[in-house]
Amino acid sequence: MIECDQNAVITKINRSWSVLSNNPIEFKVINGEINPDDNSYHFGIPVVFSEGEPIAAVALEISKSHAVNLSVSMYGLDASDLSEDEILDVCCEMCNVFSANVCNSFSGKKEGNINVPNKLSSEVFRYIFKGSNLDRYYQAENEHGRVVIYMFDPCNYYN
């Protein structure tokens, strides 16, 4: 279990979402079980700890409706003017920011260095999900679906 200041993480990810989406939602930390949603977009960022410990990972699952709304906010364009590449680009950035929010709240000796985010297919995400230890996840949900930030420790990201 990676120790971190949960309140700090929640505050940061709520703020990040709010700043980038202009549409606040409340994330909560959950330690229970979850089943990935294959109809959502998935993104992952490997996390390398400074002490050379095994690789962990932060992953983002975002419903397509949330992804579109987020992109509309960040690009300042109508949804009809956005390509899927542009929407994925926005989600990658959101994954990047969320990962930083999670990583810079690790307590004790752990300092995480994040890498570049990758778009993951549903199949690849399920593979990672099944083969890794889900440490915890943060979830927010409303009428547009759910947004989930997964923290895997360790992660079989490269296997």
Binding site: R15, S16, V19, L20, S50, S71, M74, Y75, G76, E86, D89, V90, C92, E93, N96, V97, S99, A100, N101, C103, N104, E111, G112, N113, I114, N115, V116
Partner: protein, 292 residues
């Protein structure tokens, strides 16, 4: 003003671009790059005034880009980070390596505009070429210090291996890397002159000292006085106000002949200027400054 935005996410490029356009910058030109290597190629060919970069990018990271820019002598280019990088150690490292600002994502438009405006305030006037900047900085620092007691003329550089007098070599660098960024070579007479002016000594007495063979106990003090009072100001001007620190004063202030390695370094410097300092009573003396 030329600004390069380096970020692998197009939406971030666009957000930063929109923020820059709200700064009211005259003659604004903006280019974008999607990875560090592409950014470096643009830096080399386009020579922007400011690079705003992400940390995590494919091929070359933002910190690698910053180091490469400065390692290749492009010290006039300002670099700022807008990044989600979570490691405080890494962010601190960026500042130590010369980053003008480090903003954490997500940041507001106001934060971006504020950071850019601060950089703008520090930039030299547009028509101030690096050469003019170089000459004026030495003249202005010395004039401010000595109130016109000396005049300064630029002279033609000679190969440093031909230096035959006793010289002070001071090496300046940035505090972190100990990389030498600038070298000053100051002849013995010049050290006496500057030491006399700083310590308000009688010029005639110091002139006599300077004519003797070898050096006396004053010279190390004079050299230190000059460098500690004016050296970093001169080099800060040369290095776009990035205040350097004195890394080393060779041989406690003086050497009889410049070592071959130092000669090579001096002669390969990006900018080298040799100056004659003229004092009505003391006469002429010599100083060379090299930025690497």
């Amino acid at each position: 003003m030329k600004i390069l935005i380096a970020d692998d996410t197009r939406v971030v490029q666009m957000i930063i671009k929109k923020s820059i356009e709200k700064c009211g910058i005259a003659d604004l030109e903006i280019k974008t790059a999607s990875d560090g290597l592409e950014a470096y190629e643009v830096v080399r060919s386009w020579q922007p005034d400011l690079v705003i970069t992400d940390w995590h990018m494919p091929i070359m990271t933002g910190i690698e880009l910053l180091k490469k820019i400065y390692a290749n002598g492009m010290n006039h280019i300002r670099v700022g980070f807008i990044t989600a990088e979570p490691s405080e150690k890494n962010l601190e490292q960026a500042k130590r390596f010369g980053a003008e600002f480090v903003l954490n994502k997500p940041c507001s438009e106001e934060e971006i505009v504020g950071a850019i405006k601060k950089v703008l305030e520090k930039l030299p006037a547009k028509n101030n070429t690096s050469s003019d900047f170089f000459d004026n900085s030495l003249s202005s620092v010395l004039s401010a210090k000595f109130g016109g007691a000396i005049s300064i003329e630029e002279i033609e550089s000679k190969p440093s291996a031909e230096f035959k007098d006793t010289y002070l070599i001071a090496l300046f660098g940035t505090p972190i890397s100990s990389t030498i960024r600038a070298i000053s070579v100051i002849d013995k007479r010049c050290i006496y002159l500057l030491g006399a002016l700083i310590n308000k000594l009688k010029i005639n007495e110091v002139l006599e000292l300077s004519k003797k063979d070898g050096v006396d106990s004053n010279i190390a003090k004079f050299a230190t006085d000059f460098l500690s009072e004016s050296g970093t100001d001169i080099f800060a001007s040369l290095m776009n106000n990035k205040k350097p620190e004195i890394l080393e004063i060779k041989s406690k202030g003086v050497v009889s002949h410049l070592p071959e390695k130092v000669c090579t370094t001096i002669d390969l410097g990006v900018n080298r200027k040799d100056f004659k300092l003229i004092h009505p009573e003391f006469g002429e003396c010599f100083m060379a400054i090299v930025t690497l």
